[in-house]
Amino acid sequence: MSFVLAAYAVLWLVIFGYLVWLAARVRSLREETRSLAADATPWPRSAEADGLSLPLPQEQAHPLEPPIRRR
């Protein structure tokens, strides 16, 4: 009799254990998204930044437009 109970106990133990593990997985994903959103910085765009070898005259460098807002 004890083995039957043991079997059913293990059944629920493993299933709920897996659910708890999944919940932990979701929490860690949420943390990762928060940290990613925090360090999103606008990307500088100019000829020098693109590693071009010819020195461009300064006045031709365009002012930086604000990065496109994500909808």
Binding site: M1, F3, V4, A6, A7, Y8, V10, L11, V14, I15, Y18, L22, R25, V26, L29, E32, T33, L36, A37, D39, A40, T41, P42, W43, P67, I68, R69, R70
Partner: protein, 229 residues
Amino acid sequence: MIPLVIATAAAFLVALGAIALYAPLEAVQGVAQKIFYIHVPLAWCAFVAVGVLLVSSLRFLRRSEPRHDRLARAAAEVGIVFATLVLVTGSLWGKAVWGTWWTWDGRLTSTLVLWFLLAGYVLLRSLSEGPPARTARAAAVLGVIAAVDIPIIHLSVQWWRTLHPDPVVLRAGDIGGGLTPRMLTTLSISLAAFSLLLVTLIALRRRIAEAEDEVEALWHLPGRGDLAA
């Protein structure tokens, strides 16, 4: 998602009730036979999970849509959970009926090998470092190969068992035979409950896989918010 969880819970209540009250006490094994009602459905679910893995891997290789890849990932992981349960309940049942924790019976041993294959699949995915698309394709190919190999392994384990020179001491007994109608109904209820559980877990794990892919995509776009319009 919620209705699925409620349905599974209800099905299990009915199944447990049926197993405890409705199913008759089996003549030879007595109450220990009640493990049978979860051991067999678990084994059935493990093999269904592998089937889902095979189909979704093949579909992903034909048209590489991420959703097939996610389904394969979910099926493999849930498959391991069920395979582990099959092994545990199998050995508990063996201990209860024959007094030995492990009988190298053909079916149980095949499930053990199945467990290794699924573990290998999940390990390949988590340890791969190349571009995600390549990992997904590699995992899909492994999924197909593992699934095709299972029947061959099962056959060779059976031969390994039956062509064994020494007389086999412990016959694990044929699980299927000798079932009274009442037992059969209990088994089918329990089978339905476990199948629902399988579907719920796979659906849940697939949703999490979607979240994983979202986060993965964010890593590739640091700083620029221009997700493809």
